[in-house]
Amino acid sequence: MKKSVINLSSLSQKYVMALAGMFLMIFLIFHLATNLLMLAGDGGKAFSEAVTFLTESPLVKIMEYVLFAGFLIHILLGLVLQWHNYRSRPVKYHTRLRSETSTFSRFMFHTGVIIFVFLVIHLINFFFIRLGWVAQPDHAAHQHDFYSMAVVLFQNPWYTAIYLVSFVFLGFHLKHAFQSSFQSLGLNHTKYTPVIKVIGIIYAIAISVGFAIIPVYFLFFY
């Protein structure tokens, strides 16, 4: 009769997981929209203006903390769920056929861990500089110039490769995550669920391809 680490019912934990995940999925849309401004071909002017606007907005400042909390909750709860689920079958099967249902659904933890590793690298590359935790690369023209930082970073093929691979796994995570979060919240409908599944696939592809365009552009076409 051992309870899970957190004293919340299984369904409540799934609710929190899904809500945090949905919040992160919305954040990704805004993040991508801002980043795509880098491709405007104006030497990063539009992008830098957007970044300046965002960093000065008090709402965005608050949302930064909410975002940090969202990630923290989603990641910690992901670990708790995975640990609890692993322990629910102490003796494993000898022969187990691959489930014939969604592949990505079985690897949410694994893709999640890859996203987490990426996240750490990504924060070191960009965000921690703003907090003064990491030194800014010398080549960047002026302070917190994320555009020049991106240019420097992605002309290194290794960084581009790390980012691209991470986006692929992010896409895998999102493909299952999108429709799964609706199911976890009980938002299921014979008419709309198939639509949600299709939107989820489009969303996952759009996000991973969208983010991937930027390093590829700087590596090959800049």
């Binding site: 019912s9 299984s10 369904l11 079958r89 249902t101 199911q183």
Partner: protein, 251 residues
Amino acid sequence: MNFTLKIWRQKNANAKGSFQTYPLKDVSPEMSFLEMLDYLNNQLIARGNEPVTFEHDCREGICGSCGLYINGRPHGPQRSTTTCELHMRDFKDGETIVIEPWRSKAFPVIKDLIVDRSSFERIMHAGGFVNVNVGCAPESNSNPIGKLIADKVFDAAACIGCGACVAACKNSSAMLYAAAKIAQYAMIPQGKVEAKERVDKMVKQMDAEGFGFCSNTYACEFDCPKGISTDFIALMNREFFSSKACKQKHA
């Protein structure tokens, strides 16, 4: 047909089990899977060996007691089929067949291939019923229920409690079972009265039994011999949310 059977043998709940291999000759393709095991057991008994213990009752797919994990699948390779409805013609001659009990912390092995599924019973005891004042049978049209709802309720009530959903799930989660049992009451007037209390108690009991959580892989629906839909899990999630969100404080 000839087969090599690799079967989990375990003396009792505390013993350490292991796989034993049994060659079995001249199996009729028309035998059901359980008849094949009977055939093996007759030979084991004739040789003075302990027969393989497995659970069965109706042998027609309605009691839910015959669950076996066969060749990496609950109830074997056929979809929408219980082990008792499975036939040896669904296997290849000369094949090695691996037979295991359900594996879950909440389903401890009692002996060989039999697991203790009383955790399911305790979920039902927690709220899987409707409290009524016993009297004569009510007039059948006093509770009008639409055909679509009636069909859905019947789909949920088709659950035979075999545990294949738990066996199939990578997290050994019992959410499909609990959802079917919650849904069969939640959609009709007789059950709606106590719906909020029920979902709360049943989920609590399910958690206490040590089942895993749902990752929405939908493997349970795929391997359920009765094809119970994971739509019911979403319904349970909704019911649970409304039970929490609209909970009234008692004076």
